[in-house]
Amino acid sequence: MKALDEASDASAGGGPVEEPSPIARVRGAPILSLPQDLYIPPDALEVFLEAFEGPLDLLLYLIRRQNLDILDIPIAEITAQYMDYVELMTELRLELAAEYLVMAAMLAEIKSRMLLPRPAAEGEDEEDPRADLVRRLLEYERFRQAAQDLDALPRLERDVFPVQAELPRGHLQRVPPEVDLCELLAALREVFARAELYLSHRVEKEPLSVRERMSGVLERLAGGGFHRFSELFEGLEGRAGVVVTFLAVLELTKNAVLELVQDGAYAPIHVRLREQTAEAESHDTAAA
C-alpha cells in the first residue's frame, strides 16, 4: 500500500500528536487507505482522483500498485488501466488537464510500436519505444520523492521556533539614509518628464530666491497678529533684496495666504497671515 499512501497528500502535520491524515472522509468516517480494486466509495473517489499531480503521477501509481518493474512496463495493460481512470475522471466531470489526454495518446502510440515486428538487422540499435516514457517516469519520481523529503525537513512555524527578544527602548539608532543632491535633482527631472506640459508654463522663470523669501516671510508672521509691512524689509539687503521680498509678499497675497490691511490713505500697511485669529492662536499654542 505504499503507493497509495504516496498518492495521498504527502505532507504530515507537526505537533506532539498527529494521526495519519485520511485520504478522504465518507459520511464522517476517515478513509486511511484505498481498496485494492477500482471500487471506491464515490465521495472518496473524487478526492482520490484529484490527488494525482498529473499523468506521470497517475502512471507511477498504477505501476507501483502492482509492483511492476518500471523498466519493463507491460504497456498494453497499463494503457488500459490508465484509460479506465481517465474515463472515470471524465465521468465525474473532474477538471481533466489536457496533459492526461496527451499522455493517453502517447501510450497508445507506444503500444502500437511495440506490436510492430522488429527488423532483425537493426535490432541492436533500435531503442525500446518505452525508453522515453521510462526516463520521464524515473525523473519525475526522483522529484516526487525530493518534494516529500523537503516536506519532512524541520520547518519554521511547524517544527522550529526561533527566539525573539525585545530591545529596550531608545537603543534603535536608525541612521537615516544619505541623499546626494544629484539624486534629488534626478528625481525632480523625472517629475518634469512626466508633467512636461503642465510645468513649462508655470515654473519656467521664477527665481528661487522669491520662493525662499516666501517661506521666510511666512516664518516671520507665524506668531500671528499684524506686522508692519515695512518691517519685512531689511535695508541691509539692498535693492535686490527688497525686490525679492516685495515679490514674495505679492505672491503670497495672490495665493490668499497673506492679508494686507491699510486703515486709510498713507497709513502704515499691515500684514498678517490669513486665518481667523482665534483659530490661529489655538493652532500656535498647540504647536508651541
Binding site: 539614509p177 544629484c182 522663470k205 495666504v257
Partner: protein
C-alpha cells in the same frame, strides 16, 4: 515522548513567544499534567537566576513575562540595524525636490504635479528629518499646510541658499548632466581676471 524538564519548556516558550506570556498561557501548555501556578512561578524564578549577568533577562511586565535584551548590552545590539539604513523612495525625493523648488507648497499641489498621492509617511519622514517644516496654511477648505525647506536642508546639501540650486530651465534639459549643473558652491574657482 518523555516530557523534558518543566524549566526547559517554559524557557523555550518564553523565548519564542515574541510577546509577554501570562502564567495562564504557560499553564495551558500542559493540559495532560495540570500544574500549580506556584510551580510555574518557581520555574521562572530559577530561569531568572540562570540568566543573571547574561545578555538577556526575563522581565515582568503588565501582560506577564517577557524576554528582553539587557540594557547593558543594548547599545551594541542596537547597531544591528544601524548599517541597514534603507534608501529613500523615489516618491520621497520627488516630494522633497518639489518642496524645495515650489515652496511654500501644499501637499495637494505636490500631488497635482506628481500625478500621484503623497503618503503621510513621506511627509512625516521629511518633517522628522527636519528638512521640511510647516510655515503656514492656505485659506482653502481644510486649511492645508504649506511646506517649505529648512536651514537644515540647506546645510545637509551644502547650499548657501536655494539660489544655489540649478535653475529649473537648466534642470529640465535632459541632455545636461546633473553634475555640471552643480558647479555652484565653489565661488573661488572662478577665473580671476587680475593679471
Amino acid at each position: 515522548m518523555t516530557q523534558p524538564p518543566l524549566e526547559s519548556i517554559i524557557e523555550g516558550a518564553l523565548f519564542a513567544a515574541g510577546e509577554p506570556l501570562s502564567v495562564e498561557r504557560l499553564l495551558a501548555l500542559f493540559p495532560e499534567t495540570p500544574l500549580r501556578r506556584s510551580e510555574v512561578l518557581e520555574a521562572i524564578a530559577r530561569l531568572r537566576g540562570d540568566y543573571a549577568g547574561r545578555g538577556i533577562e526575563i522581565a515582568e511586565v503588565a501582560g506577564g513575562f517577557r524576554v528582553q535584551v539587557r540594557a547593558s548590552v543594548a547599545p551594541w545590539v542596537g547597531r544591528l540595524w544601524e548599517e541597514r539604513a534603507p534608501r529613500y523612495s523615489r516618491a520621497l525625493l520627488e516630494t522633497l525636490a518639489l518642496i524645495a523648488y515650489r515652496q511654500p507648497i501644499t501637499r495637494g499641489e505636490i500631488e497635482e504635479i506628481r500625478g500621484v498621492a503623497v503618503s503621510t509617511n513621506i511627509m512625516r519622514t521629511l518633517l522628522d528629518r527636519e528638512w521640511v517644516r510647516v510655515v503656514g496654511h492656505r485659506e482653502l477648505p481644510g486649511r492645508p499646510a504649506l511646506y517649505a525647506t529648512t536651514r537644515a536642508f540647506l546645510e545637509y546639501f551644502s547650499l548657501g541658499s536655494l539660489d544655489d540650486l540649478p535653475p529649473l530651465a537648466e534642470l529640465r534639459d535632459p541632455d545636461r548632466p546633473l553634475e555640471s549643473l552643480l558647479t555652484v558652491g565653489e565661488p573661488d574657482s572662478q577665473p580671476t581676471d587680475n593679471a
